[in-house]
């Protein structure tokens, strides 16, 4: 099995699906000859030509609007938004159009568009190259939202997403684009949408994370284990529909829960997860559910490491949660 990073795994998935399904087209800014600013589409223009790997004018609303039209007409567009911070000129097309097309047309027009976009901070990108806008899209009925943390999941989830019938926001954690490596199975395989993964088993506290923060949480769990704690770490992989069974099973076992995400706390996905869990696990909970998140500020430049929920903050929350006695 070849060792790949997330960029290579995404590239591999796109190549496999473009070979398998002639309806798949890629469109976006700089995705063609250049192969994308992060090189995720490198080589595809050469291999599949300019009718299937398309450099567009600089307009995200245009990219997503076009992708919707293409999907209605029968193609399988996989548009790229260069940074998720630049998705907002397309917000109307995504929220009012793409997400609701199937529903509002009485089921006549599904719009299977998979929007790939790098998310998250930790790359010295300031607030226009670092944001994590997942909750805006999870809140939008009609969208599937995915965020892998490693190359194996990235490839399998992207293949599932493109083969699915729903529009998907496929968020790629750019901070670990190259750093997260793994032995990625060759050829075709899928990882189901909607299934979380238990990364580390334990019975004392459930830690929930995804994307780049999964790696911070892993570090914190290792430190906690060295101190004798027994954390269970769950990688959500799909944010919506969230794998509620996996969460409930784990929290019923541990009775304690720490949720980690780098988006701001207020109205972040952690708030929703916390509600979902306490509604189902109330009598099993032995401590308040804790959120370790980005602060309620714009994403800063110099102080990004103080903004991000790094391992020490996660560890402290785990310690306090496990020590908590009502």
């Amino acid at each position: 099995m070849p060792t790949m990073n997330i960029i290579q795994a995404v590239n591999d998935a796109l190549r496999i699906e473009m070979k398998r399904d002639p309806r798949v087209v890629i469109l976006g800014e700089d995705v063609g000859k250049f192969g994308g600013v992060f090189r995720a589409t490198a080589g595809l223009f050469e291999e599949f030509g300019d009718k299937r790997v398309i450099d567009t004018p600089l307009a995200e609303g245009g990219i997503i609007g076009a992708a919707i039209g293409m999907a209605l007409y029968g193609l399988r567009p996989v548009p790229e938004i260069q940074f998720s911070d630049f998705i907002f000129p397309a917000f109307d097309q995504i929220v009012n159009e793409l997400a609701k097309y199937r529903y509002r047309s009485g089921g006549q027009y599904p719009a299977p568009v998979v929007i790939r976009t790098p998310v998250g901070g930790g790359i010295k990108g300031g607030h226009y190259h670092s944001q994590s806008p997942e909750s805006l899209f999870i809140h939008t009925a009609g969208l599937v939202v995915v965020c892998p943390s490693n190359p194996i999941d990235a490839k399998g989830l992207l293949l599932s997403a493109i083969r699915g019938e729903d529009p998907v926001l496929f968020m790629e954690p750019k901070r670990v684009y190259r750093a997260a490596k793994g032995d990625v199975p060759e050829g075709d395989y899928t990882i189901p949408i909607g299934k979380a993964k238990i990364v580390r088993e334990g019975d004392q506290v459930t830690v929930i994370a995804w994307g780049a923060m999964l790696h911070e949480a892993m570090e914190a769990c290792e430190q906690a284990a060295a101190q004798g704690l027994r954390p269970e770490l769950i990688d959500l992989r799909t944010l919506w529909p969230v794998d509620i069974d996996a969460l409930v099973t784990s929290v019923k076992k541990t009775g304690r829960c720490v949720i980690v995400h780098e988006a701001p706390r207020t109205c972040g996905f952690g708030g929703e997860l916390s509600s979902l869990i306490q509604e189902r696990c109330f009598v099993h909970l032995e401590a308040p559910i804790r959120r370790v998140t980005g602060w309620d500020t714009p994403f800063p430049y110099t102080l990004e490491n103080e903004y991000l929920p790094r391992a020490p903050r996660i560890l402290k929350a785990m310690q306090e949660t496990t020590a908590y006695e009502a």
Binding site: G32, F34, H127, W295, P300, R313
Partner: protein, 377 residues
């Protein structure tokens, strides 16, 4: 101001007769010494020195980025005439809404080099408090609005500021810059349309440097020129040699006069070239042939000005050498001081999200401070 009005009428006549696909040039291909300009010898040598400063700062910052001493840099090498020439037409009370390559305008309008470098390192003395990436400055004393990465947003805001000045009856013009890639954005269309409908006193500059990261201009428009677009919105569209400072200054000044006389917006396409990569993040060799770049190096706007000034007897090799040496020392010393300054405090991260922090920010600030400064990755 009657003379202003007469000048503006003349400008409007000239602009009417100029077809949007004419390329206005003043220096001409030989940078001739009798090129007409209303800039005084003193103004000419000053703006030349600003261009050189802009260039040397860019070159130094790119080197420092490679050394890992700053996180990112986006410069304006080869586009100095298009940027500084236009902004030279502004008065102190006018407003400027930059794209992200116009930092030289902030320096020209009084931002200190030290503060510019403070922004490069994102220290506590940075005018934007280390909150934004390098090159994303804001400088209110010069009516220099905040640089934003999202393409095109500044155009609409410039229109709004100009419109406000008009509503209040102030003698103020707003100028904004966009790249030719940005003309594909929603914001470009909206700004142009509103400005023309409202007759807002705004000067829309477009640096047509022919590349938007790896995307060539042929992927942005099927129009013959960008200037021609202005006609459809109902405003003059001017196409100017963007590597000719005298020409850019002339058309920008005429556009400012039109704006001040209630004649509304002007769109100016400055034809230039992005001789380097988009920023320190890309290698242009991957997507464009070097042969395309070479002819543009020969049309370097600074070199063209130097030849012109030299021919007029306003500049010589000795002055050139001294200027560059002085700048080199000033840039090094100033950067070293910025680099040595303290970073922003954790507390500052929570300030100015709102006029006053709300309870959640107070709570979170206390939590963040309890962890202190994080280990770097």
């Amino acid at each position: 101001m009657p003379d202003t009005h007469a000048q503006s009428k003349a400008a409007a006549r000239r602009q009417k007769s100029a077809e949007p696909d004419d390329l206005i040039s003043v220096l001409g291909p030989d940078n001739r010494k009798d090129a007409p300009t209303d800039l005084s010898p003193d103004e000419l040598t000053k703006i030349y020195a600003m261009m050189v400063e802009n260039r040397l700062v860019d070159e130094r910052m790119i080197t420092l980025q490679r050394q890992g001493r700053i996180g990112f840099y986006i410069g304006s090498v080869g586009e100095e005439a298009a940027i500084l020439g236009a902004a030279l037409a502004l008065r102190p009370q006018d407003w400027f809404f930059p794209c992200y390559r116009e930092n030289g305008v902030a320096l020209m309008r009084g931002l200190s080099l030290r503060n510019y470098f403070d922004n490069m390192v994102g220290n506590g003395e940075d005018p934007v408090k280390g909150r934004q990436m390098p090159n994303h400055i804001a400088w209110r004393p010069a009516n220099y609005a905040s640089v934003s990465s999202p393409i095109g947003t500044q155009y609409t805001q410039a229109m709004g500021a100009a419109w406000a000045a008009k509503l209040k009856g102030d003698d103020v013009v707003a100028m904004s810059f966009i790249g030719e890639g940005g003309t594909s954005s929603n914001e470009f269309h909206v700004a142009m349309n509103f400005a023309a409908v409202m007759k807002a006193p705004v000067v829309f500059m477009c640096r047509n440097n022919q590349w938007a990261i790896s995307t060539p201009l042929s992927r942005q428009t099927a129009s013959e020129t960008f200037a021609v677009k202005a006609m459809a919105y109902g405003m003059p569209g001017i196409r100017v040699d963007g590597n000719d400072l005298l020409a850019v200054h002339r058309v920008a000044k005429e556009a400012c006069l039109r704006a001040r006389n209630g004649e509304g917006p002007t769109f100016i396409e400055a034809v230039t070239y992005r001789v380097l990569g988009h920023s320190t993040s890309d290698d242009p060799k991957v997507y464009r042939p070097d042969e395309e770049v070479e002819p543009w190096r020969k049309k370097d706007p600074i070199e063209r000005m130097r030849i012109y000034l030299d021919a007029r007897g306003l500049w010589d090799a000795k002055q050139e050498k001294k200027l560059r040496e002085d700048l080199d020392v000033r840039i090094r010393e100033t950067f070293a001081a910025a680099e040595a300054a303290q970073g922003p405090t954790i507390e500052s991260m929570f300030e100015e999200v709102y006029a006053r922090p709300f309870w959640n920010l107070d709570e979170q600030r206390a939590e963040a401070e309890s962890f202190g400064t994080a280990p770097k990755h």
